[in-house]
């Protein structure tokens, strides 16, 4: 499993766009990138997943450069309720046996 590195914490203000970058230098050909959000005392919740280029859904965008050694989760116009820990996971598309959660990024959105 490719190891991931994320900033430990980030601060933002309501209404701003937030970009959280994850480094995964040892990503393998079959690996895809998934981001989860976790609120205190709750289980992680899937946000977005991608393999390359850009993926967008109703809550976020995921940018993956051509070398795939990093990825950036973009949250548009954050609100106080987006305060949470965000985890980047890298895993084999065909292997569901194990998933590694890194330390995550604690996003603190201020009013």
């Amino acid at each position: 499993l490719a190891k991931t590195t994320q900033p430990i914490s980030m601060d933002s203000y309501e209404g701003q766009e937030v970009n959280i970058t994850c480094s995964h230098n040892n990503i393998a050909t079959n690996d895809y990138i998934t981001w989860y959000q976790q609120f205190p005392s709750q289980g992680p919740r899937f946000i977005i997943q991608g393999y390359k280029t850009k993926v967008t859904n109703e809550v976020a965008s995921l940018f993956i450069p051509a070398d795939r050694k990093s990825s950036t989760l973009s949250l548009p116009r954050v609100s106080l309720s987006d305060t949470a820990v965000y985890y980047c996971l890298v895993g084999d598309f065909y292997n569901f046996n194990k998933f590694y959660f890194g330390s995550g990024t604690k996003l603190n959105v201020k009013p």
Binding site: Q42, G43, R45, Y87, G91, F93, N97, F99, Y100, F101
Partner: protein, 114 residues
């Protein structure tokens, strides 16, 4: 929307006692997982389960731990003789092969070992 459920939400036990944590994964899911999260720390993989057997387990998942899917709906984690350091949130998760790697997590069981 279907969801993963876990019971109990909070379990308090004495050191050395056995505990069983219960999970009901989403009905058409095929892969099941247990994770733990010690307060303030990251989510740690414990074990994965597919086709009625363990697929992979971490070094945390020692002989004190076991998993079972006794009746086709429940998925349980047993800790035979709890230690103080087993105090944590335990999350169950499941995956459908129709949504690759989108794990659906339950709300967790907070285990407190005294």
């Amino acid at each position: 929307e279907p969801e993963v459920t876990q019971t109990p939400s909070h379990q308090v036990t004495q050191m050395g006692q056995e505990v069983i944590l219960r999970c009901v994964p989403i009905s058409n899911h095929l892969y099941f997982y247990w994770y733990r999260q010690i307060l303030g720390q990251k989510v740690e993989f414990l074990v994965s389960f597919y086709n009625n057997e363990i697929s992979e387990k971490s070094e945390i998942f020692d002989d004190q731990f076991s998993v079972e899917r006794p009746d086709g709906s429940n998925f349980t984690l047993k800790i035979r003789s709890t230690k103080l350091e087993d105090s944590a949130m335990y999350f169950c998760a499941s995956i459908s092969t129709n949504s690759y790697n989108e794990q659906f997590f339950g709300p967790g069981t907070r285990l407190t070992v005294l």
